[in-house]
């Protein structure tokens, strides 16, 4: 059963075609990676899927347990963890989580329990009263993630979740994301880190010049003892993009 089906989505800014007939099927409970060079159209695709922008043509739909989600349900069940930090720097960790919960209509004991769980899960408990701006870069990222999970979403978009983090914290992050998959969440990750994609993703799609250049299973790649990075560079260069422009 697919959590997301994308059907021939196109999008242009003026004469520049950003997305050119992108079609995808994302099975439920998988971690799916969007890979591609800068300006390939990854972010635009996510923006369209999250209703921040409208596609020129094509369609997409979210489903859960084989049931297509309505727009209202999409907002409740689909969440994004943006690349940029999206929370109030001057509010405490807990206050930020409370505000995010309010956005999903959560309150009272239910919200409190969920906040406690998130603080526990994402190692933020000891910083609960600390102002967000006073957190270290890694914990800011964790808070950013926790904020995106306040509604307990079934489908999660993670936009460059570990960018700027040191290798140790990245690995911690990976563990936690894998934990999410074990809870049955469908996760869509955009990343530039090929190792990250190899570790986390079940499947990846390489987007080049607004098209799906390659869609493959990471386990198949491993079986063939191939490196995702090499494949990525090869495909990109085949599309006439120089290595230094990736």
């Amino acid at each position: 059963m697919n959590a997301l089906e994308v059907n021939k989505i196109t999008k242009s800014y003026g004469k520049f075609k950003v997305l050119d007939g992108v079609s995808l099927k994302l099975p439920e409970g998988e971690i799916f990676g969007f890979l591609g060079p800068n300006g390939a159209g990854k972010s635009t695709l996510i923006r369209i899927l999250l209703d921040f922008e409208k596609q020129d043509s094509g369609s997409f739909s979210f489903s859960l347990a084989g049931k297509k989600l309505l727009n209202k349900e999409v907002k409740k069940k689909v969440s994004i963890v943006p690349q940029d930090l999206c929370f109030y720097l001057d509010f405490s960790v807990e206050k930020n989580l409370e505000i995010m919960g309010a956005l999903y209509g959560l309150g009272g004991i239910k919200l409190h329990e969920r906040i406690e769980r998130l603080l526990e899960t994402w190692s933020l408990k000891r910083f609960r009263s600390r102002r967000a701006k006073n957190l270290s870069g890694g914990y800011k990222r964790l808070l950013n993630l926790a904020c995106g999970l306040i509604n307990d979403p079934a489908i999660i978009f993670l936009d460059e979740p570990t960018v700027g983090l040191d290798p140790k914290i990245r690995k911690t992050f990976w563990k936690k994301i894998v934990q999410l998959r074990t809870k049955g969440k469908t996760i869509i990750i955009t990343t530039h880190y090929m190792d990250e994609a190899e570790v986390l993703c079940d499947r990846v799609a390489l987007i080049v010049k607004g098209k799906i250049a390659e869609e493959l299973s990471v386990s198949d790649l491993r079986k063939n003892r191939k490196k995702l990075e090499d494949l990525f560079i090869k495909i990109v260069e085949e599309q006439g993009i120089k290595r230094e422009d990736i």
Partner: protein
């Protein structure tokens, strides 16, 4: 040299921020434009610098000494006053309360003091500078009207005096005519008098009296003589008859005696002697007696004859008397003379009668003319009395002006009046600064911190999100207002004339209006600094056109409309209404709507202008 390179870098950096650059260029242009709009009025005289001001008025039409229509005509022609007619003095005050008029003019019925018209000015002391200026301008206009009115009255008096002089000249001419007529009448009377004088009435009277006396005397004498004659004649006739009788008796006696004597003689002859002698003696005596009787008879007869003669003479005398009587009649000739004289007199009297008739006619004519003159003089007196109605004091100052401030009238408010007026202004300015900046900066901060992404990906609608934001900002603004009000009331003792509920509603409306501007600006800006610049771009015109630096009435007419609808202007007016004027908010719902409705439009534009 490094400094110049850094300077160039800075310049290029500033220039690279297109919105900031646009604002930097727009700012001076805007300030020049706003200043030109606000201060560009041609009228900059200190006494009447305002361009157009609203005045509510009440005029009691039909006032005896006051031409209301004329007054109204005059006022309506005063260029800078826009008039609003009120049905009662209270309606004038209401117009000021509602901000329709800055000042009110109530004209009262003329007072007992020289029939002066009392004019009550009511001015909005919540805006003392402009109100007093408009009031002094209106007063000046009324004074011009008063002067014009006095001049007109004096002109009318002058014209009437001219007419009066002409008519008096005419009457003078008429009176001259009367004089000539009277002189003519006098001459005729003098002529008549001469004629009458020429009649010698005394002579006539004397003659008449003489004649009359003479005539009466003569007549009397003649009558007396005639009576005497008749008496004498009667007496003579009686004597004569007596004499005749006596004579006859005597004759009888004589005859008897003679018979006796004859008898005696016979007796004697037959008698003897002694007797004879005796008889003879008797006979002699008898003869002697007879002789005596006869002699007496003869004498009587002679006397009768004398009487007859006398009678004859009396007859003659009577004839003479009759002759005299005739002569008296001849005196009628003199009477004829009188008749002639009387005829003359009659002629004269006819003339006199004619003259009297003429005089009567002339009298009637003169009387009629005099009646005309009297009517004229009555008219003139009436005209003069009419003018005397206008006492010199009235002409010099036909109006008594009384100034009344509308608000904070009680003595106890006098020390805090100015502060009380300034509090709504300063409070609105503070709310403007706070709300616009808070709203714009807060929205930009949220946007910069990616909260819009969170919002958009959540089921929460943007409207409820923004409503919550606005509510929070309003609460913040209210807290700020509360602090200012607490200082104003507790420290300065400024009174709150309206209700607290109204104050709260107004504060919320003002906050909402300014927050909406802030939110609106965020629809067009992405950076905090740009939002601040854009906020200033809005706030500067609001300050210039809000009537704080420069009263709205001083601005050109078309700018006044814009200035009156600006949120700062409306905010100050509404807050002043509640705090200073004590006017229930229900009377300023229109202003509240003008404040709030565009705020919602701005909010909607600001909210939906940028999707994320």
């Amino acid at each position: 040299m490094k400094i110049f390179r850094f300077a160039r870098k800075e310049f290029e950096l500033v220039a690279s921020q297109k919105t900031s650059l646009a604002l930097v260029i727009l700012y001076p242009a805007l300030i020049v434009l706003v200043v030109a709009l606000a201060f560009g009025s041609q009228n900059v005289e200190p006494q009447s610098g305002f361009e157009r001001a609203d005045v509510a008025y009440y005029l009691p039409f039909g006032s005896s000494n006051f031409d209301s229509e004329e007054f109204l005509d005059h006022l309506s022609q005063v260029e800078r006053l826009r008039l609003h007619r009120a049905k009662s003095p209270d309606a004038v005050k209401e117009a000021i309360d509602q901000g329709i008029a800055r000042i009110g003019v109530v004209v009262h019925e003329p007072t007992s003091e020289f029939e002066r018209v009392k004019i009550s000015f009511y001015y909005d002391n919540s805006a003392p500078l402009v109100s007093k200026m408009v009031m002094s301008y209106a007063y000046f206009s009324i004074q011009i009207f008063a002067n014009n009115k006095s001049t007109k009255i004096l002109h009318r008096i002058w014209e009437n005096l001219d007419t009066i002089t002409k008519r008096l000249d005419e009457q003078y001419a008429k009176i001259n005519g009367f004089e000539e007529g009277l002189d003519g009448a006098k001459q005729r009377i003098i002529d008549l008098e001469t004629k009458i004088n020429s009649i010698d009435i005394a002579s006539l009277k004397s003659k008449l009296n003489q004649f009359n006396a003479h005539y009466l005397d003569s007549k009397s004498k003649i009558a007396s003589a005639k009576e005497d004659l008749a008496e004498a004649k009667t007496t003579l006739s009686t004597y004569r008859a007596k004499l005749v009788d006596t004579s006859l008796e005597l004759s009888t006696y004589s005859d008897t005696l003679k018979l006796i004597r004859g008898d005696l003689q016979q007796i004697k002859n037959a008698s003897f002697e002694p007797i004879k002698s005796q008889l003879q003696s008797v006979e002699n005596e008898l003869t002697e007696t007879i002789t005596k009787i006869d002699s007496s008879i003869a004498e009587i007869n002679s006397a009768i004859n004398d009487i007859d003669d006398s009678q004859q003479k009396l007859t003659e005398l009577n004839t003479e008397l009759n002759s005299a009587d005739s002569k008296l009649d001849s005196a009628n000739l003199t009477v004829e003379e009188f008749k002639v004289a009387v005829d003359d007199l009659e002629t004269t009297l006819t003339e006199v009668k004619g003259l009297i008739r003429d005089s009567f006619d002339y009298y009637e004519q003169t009387k009629s003319n005099l009646a005309e003159t009297k009517t004229l003089l009555d008219d003139l007196t009436e005209t003069i009395e009419k003018f005397m109605f206008y006492k010199p004091e009235f002409l010099v100052r036909p109006f008594i002006v009384e100034e009344n401030k509308m608000y904070l009238v009680s003595e106890e408010y006098l020390p805090v009046e100015k502060t009380a007026i300034l509090i709504p202004i300063s409070l609105t300015i503070v709310l403007m600064l706070t709300c616009i900046l808070i709203a714009s900066i807060s929205t930009i901060v949220e946007r910069k911190q990616g909260l819009n992404v969170r919002l958009h990906s959540s089921p929460t609608s943007k409207l409820s999100w923004v409503s919550g934001k606005i509510l929070g900002q309003i609460m913040f603004a209210l807290l700020e207002a509360l602090i200012i009000l607490a200082i104003a009331i507790l420290v300065f003792g400024v009174p709150l004339m309206g209700s607290i509920l109204d104050l709260l509603i107004v504060l919320v409306a003002i906050s909402l209006a300014f927050i909406s501007i802030g939110v609106f600006l965020t629809g067009f800006t992405s950076e905090q600094s740009t939002a601040v610049l854009a906020s200033l771009l809005i706030m500067i015109p609001l300050l210039f056109l809000g009537g704080i630096i420069f009263p709205i009435e001083f601005m050109p007419f078309y700018v006044q409309g814009i200035a009156s609808a600006l949120p700062l202007t409306l905010g100050i007016q509404l807050l002043t209404n509640v705090m200073v004027k004590g006017i229930p908010l229900i009377y300023a719902l229109d202003k509240l709507l003008v404040l709030v409705v565009p705020a919602f439009i701005l909010l909607l534009v600001g909210i939906f202008r940028k999707k994320i």
